[in-house]
């Protein structure tokens, strides 16, 4: 692959470009939005597309060379300078972030145009800024830089969520309080790491770790970093902020934030545990497995049961997200190769599934103007294609083959069996069954109950007269979402199956290299 070996400056600067491109585009979109409402969207779309392409190239580059790309910001070498490290793991997550940000953006064009008509500049700018923050978090190899980027992502995330319904600002404020506590805890932990090691570079710290395993400073740093991250990923019982914030945000924002925030935070946790504290410390010296897996079990059970109690579709999804956090945290802290593989694979799969479910939420919202599950009456007959896609996504959450959810769950359960964590295995199966109930409840409503025309808000994108005649259960006319929404959604739901069938390849060719060989 001479193409990559060459000294082409564009290619060699990709790790920086992938983060700075959306960052600068965000500024440009913000400024242009002042003058011209129509300008920001195409700029953001192009920027997201180019970022997506860059991340694909990065992924190919990492896979073909097999070594991590280390990019020195402004040419300063580590540990003095800040480095961005693109290895198999970060390349995978970067690809995930860029593709979700891009697809969600494209699919929601009409939503963005109508909902954020007067805030086009702000919205597009925030969307890009959030993406840039997440990408930076994923790429950086510097513990303090991570904090800054985490806050960039969080702050733009707060603003995005705050743009939602009338209740959103209050929920966002609560989210902001907890998010700030989490981030500040993390910052504090980094301070202690710095005292103990004198370094902020993750790889550098890791090389010092073996000498200071019994340092109480490091122990404190580990605990406080973990608590900070666990708050940010909404693990039970630190989950309180998530359901309100996500369910009250606009669908476009939720489609970006819900699939990515918790997943990237889990990636950060994995990164910190593996690259910074080293697996030796996390798993062997501290033996954190039992405690964390129990925390995960609690999260799974709590999330699943709470989801059962929800009447509102989006709120139900938020509790499923919480339960899924338990999957990944638990899988990672099983501490064996299968479990960690499962956790990483599930980051990808769960992000894709959540994206699909929130895209479906967007389409339903567009159709009915409501968010209750009851509003989905007669949907199978009304929107067969959307419902087919929704069914695939739902089955993936339940864990039915050949959708991707089944395969990551397989790894997680195998890991649980291998680690002897049978309660974790039971929790996973319990959660699958609960998810089956959750979604079949919706299927029943959509399948058995006749469609009702319920447009509370006088939306101008549907024709009342046409639908009023379609009350008869059996003679419903099909009226699908516009193709601009439907095609991306169908593509994502097909992707869920493709991801599933190729999960073996993903694990063999990417995830295997992402896990240190010391984890067996």
């Amino acid at each position: 692959m001479t193409f990559f070996d060459g000294d082409s400056s564009l290619i060699s600067n990709l790790p920086a470009i992938v983060v700075t491109l959306p960052l600068f585009a965000s500024l440009i979109a913000g400024f242009l939005g002042w003058k011209n409402r129509k300008a920001p969207y195409p700029i953001a779309a192009v920027a997201l597309f180019l970022t997506f392409i860059s991340s694909v190239v990065l992924m190919i580059q990492v896979m073909s060379t097999g070594v991590a790309i280390e990019y020195r910001m402004a040419g300063w070498a580590a540990p003095v300078g800040i480095v961005y490290v693109i290895d198999h793991l970060s390349a995978l997550v970067i690809l995930l972030i860029t593709s979700i940000a891009f697809v969600n953006f494209i699919a929601n064009k009409s939503n963005i145009d109508t909902v954020f008509r007067n805030k086009a500049g702000a919205f597009n700018s925030l969307y890009l800024l959030f993406t840039a923050g997440l990408l930076g978090m994923t790429a950086t190899g510097d513990a303090f830089n991570l904090y800054v980027l985490m806050e960039i992502a969080s702050l733009s995330g707060y603003a995005l969520i705050g743009l939602g319904s009338n209740r959103a600002p209050l929920s966002t404020l609560n989210y902001l309080f907890l998010g700030t506590i989490g981030a500040t805890f993390y910052l504090l932990g980094v301070g202690y790491i710095y005292i103990a090691t004198g370094s902020l570079n993750m790889a550098d710290i890791a090389s010092i770790m073996p000498k200071i395993l019994d340092s109480s400073m490091i122990l404190f740093a580990f605990i406080i970093c973990m608590v900070g991250l666990l708050i940010k990923m909404a693990i039970f019982p630190l989950h309180g902020w998530l359901p309100n914030a996500y369910s009250e945000s606009a669908n476009v924002a939720a489609g970006l934030i819900a699939p990515l925030t918790t997943k990237v935070t889990i990636y950060i946790m994995i990164r910190i545990c593996l690259t910074l504290f080293t697996p030796q410390y996390t798993f062997d010296y501290l033996n954190t497995s039992d405690l964390m897996v129990w925390l995960a079990i609690g999260t799974i059970i709590f999330g699943s049961l709470s989801a059962l109690a929800q009447k509102d579709y989006k709120r139900m999804l938020t509790y499923i997200i919480i339960a899924e956090v338990g999957y990944m945290v638990g899988g990672f802290f099983l501490g064996n190769r299968i479990g960690v593989s499962g956790a990483i694979l599930h980051i990808v799969n769960d992000a894709a599934m959540t994206l699909a479910l929130f895209m479906a939420a967007g389409i339903f919202m567009w159709k009915t103007g409501e968010e209750s599950q009851e509003s989905l009456k007669g949907m199978f007959a009304k929107m067969p294609f959307t419902m087919a896609g929704f069914t695939v996504a739902a089955l993936s959450v339940v864990g039915v083959p050949p959708t991707c959810g089944f395969f990551s769950k397989w790894y997680l359960i195998s890991g649980g069996i291998a680690a002897g964590q049978y309660f974790f295995v039971a929790a996973l199966i319990f959660s699958s069954l609960v998810n089956a109930i959750l979604f079949f409840r919706i299927f029943e409503i959509a399948h058995f109950e006749p469609f009702k025309d319920h447009h509370h808000h006088s939306s101008n994108h549907s024709n009342k007269g046409e639908e009023a005649s379609a009350h008869d259960t059996h003679e419903q006319t099909i009226k699908e979402a516009p193709l601009g929404m439907l095609i991306p959604f169908m593509a994502v739901s097909i992707l869920l199956v493709v991801l599933g069938l190729y999960s073996g390849q993903i694990v063999n060719n990417i995830i295997n290299f992402a896990i240190p060989s010391s984890i067996l």
Binding site: F407, S414, I429, L433, A436, H447, S503
Partner: protein, 494 residues
């Protein structure tokens, strides 16, 4: 004995062909074009399956791996004698049922026929997928697809009854597979490192008796489609479906997929050696026997014809399990053969029930007095179907029952011979009154006018075909008998 394998994509195509027809089915402008797609797919599928038959009868197997998903486990297909037998039954009966569906659905003017035919196609794809699975993972995959694809078929009427039946259906089928079969599969993988079906199983040497028993039970009850008591009550509930669905899916595809899966797991995963060494087969035989007797007793008391047939099916399915679990050569042959023989008999009976409903709107046996005068062809077919299920010559069912009886004697467990005979007696007891009342009830009891008025031709032709096939199979059981003995040879290594 080394088995020669042939690499071919044909099994994948056989699975996919009906899926590929779905866009055609959905997008068709007229009913006739839509049905043409269905028949085209059905025909090509049968041809594909039949084209593989000579290779299998030659003692070879056909393999194809689509994609590798876990270390040593992929989505793989393998055609062997057992799978071939099942695929042959399912794909040939699909054509007949499609004919029947057209007649039934059109004459009753059912709604959402496009959805019906589309999901029917998915279901048959999944069935063939199960038949051609090379490992447990692939089998599980298609098993689940089948469960989900049949849900809209079972709940076709979309009313309250359908809704509660649908719930029950999913609760048992999905609950069983996710709650029991899936964990059992993962535990198996954990201990053995493989999920491939091997002729003598893969568990030998990896598990102790307790674990082997636990896993066997998890599989037996987890594959709830086989309807072993107490996991049976979804089947009578699912009779709310339109009759062609009941016919193909609940007499042939779905329930036989359950039986087939259990047989596959018992022979290919657990292994006959393990079953015999730990005496698990005795326990399975006992469970199956209880189901056989109890289901037949319940069937006696059912007045709704389809429900009576459903309980009859529950009992007959356990014949298959019992036969294989006997672990004797004839018993196993009989059990496997029963997959085919019972299918032809039972589908005839369901077709008859549907034809009666089509022509008269009657569901209850007590209201069918004298119906033989009105629908002589249908009721004659009904007689043939019931004779086959009971195991009377000259019907196909006799062949499999004969082997089963021989099997009990070979294995030396005569108690099961008693069970078989008792059950045959009970079968006769719940079938003959239907037939007797239809033709020979006294003149003042007759509820029908004395004129012949059959169901539409599209309904009658299929049931005549399956009834004739039931008789034909008594005289020419070779394709199925050869496949069954070939399968038994592989399993028992004789």
């Amino acid at each position: 004995m080394s088995i020669e394998t042939v690499l071919s994509i044909k099994p994948v195509l056989a699975v996919l062909v009906s899926l590929l027809a779905i866009p055609g089915i959905i997008s068709s402008r007229s009913q006739n074009i839509r049905e043409a797609w269905t028949f085209a797919a059905a025909g090509i599928k049968l041809l594909l399956v039949v084209s593989m038959l000579p290779i299998i009868l030659d003692g070879k197997t056909i393999n194809y791996t689509l994609v590798q998903v876990f270390p040593d486990v992929g989505i793989s297909f393998r055609v062997d004698a057992l799978g071939m037998l099942f695929a042959l039954v399912a794909s040939s009966l699909w054509i007949v049922t499609s004919l029947y569906s057209v007649g039934y659905m059109r004459s009753l003017d059912e709604h959402s026929q496009t959805r019906y035919f589309a999901f029917f196609a998915v279901a048959i794809s999944a069935t063939i997928g199960v038949a051609f699975s090379a490992n447990l993972l692939t089998l599980y995959l298609f098993y689940e697809i089948l469960s989900l694809a049949t849900y809209p078929l079972v709940t076709h009427h979309q009313d309250k009854e359908a809704r509660s039946s649908g719930r029950k259906y999913l609760l048992y089928i999905l609950g069983g597979s996710v709650g029991l079969a899936l964990p059992a599969m993962m535990i198996t993988y954990h201990f053995t490192g493989t999920l491939d079906f091997a002729p003598h199983g893969v568990m030998a040497g990896h598990v102790n008796s307790g674990l082997a028993l636990l896993l066997s039970m998890m599989f037996l009850f987890g594959f709830a489609k086989v309807g072993i008591m107490p996991m049976h009550s979804w089947l009578p509930a699912a009779m709310v479906a339109p009759t062609p669905v009941s016919a193909l899916l609940h007499a042939v595809a779905v329930v036989k997929v359950g039986a087939f899966s259990v047989v596959r797991v018992m022979t290919g995963i657990i292994g006959t050696g393990v079953l015999a060494d730990f005496n698990i087969n005795g326990i399975i035989c006992a469970i199956a026997s209880i189901t056989i007797v109890v289901a037949s007793l319940i069937a006696l008391s059912q007045d709704e014809l389809k429900r009576r047939l459903a309980f009859s099916t529950i009992g007959q399915l356990s014949y298959i399990i019992l036969g294989v679990a006997l672990l004797s050569k004839s018993g196993m042959t009989g059990g496997i053969l029963h997959i085919a023989m019972h299918a032809f008999g039972k589908i005839t009976l369901f077709f008859c029930a549907g034809a009666i409903f089509c022509a008269t709107g009657i569901k209850y046996i007590s209201k069918m007095k004298g119906i033989g005068r009105r629908m002589p062809i249908t009721m004659t077919a009904f007689l043939i179907g019931s004779l086959s299920v009971i195991g009377f010559p000259p019907c196909g069912g006799f062949i499999s029952k004969w082997h089963l009886v021989l099997g009990t004697i070979e294995s030396g467990r005569l108690i099961f011979l008693v069970v078989l005979l008792l059950s045959s007696f009970l079968n006769a007891a719940y079938f003959f009154p239907v037939f007797y009342n239809a033709f020979f009830c006294s003149a003042d009891e007759v509820l029908f006018e004395d004129r012949v008025e059959e169901a539409p031709l599209w309904c009658v032709v299929p049931l005549v075909i399956t009834a004739s096939l039931s008789i034909l199979l008594f005289f020419y059981p070779q394709p199925f008998l050869n496949l069954a003995s070939l399968a038994v040879q592989t399993i028992m290594g004789i």
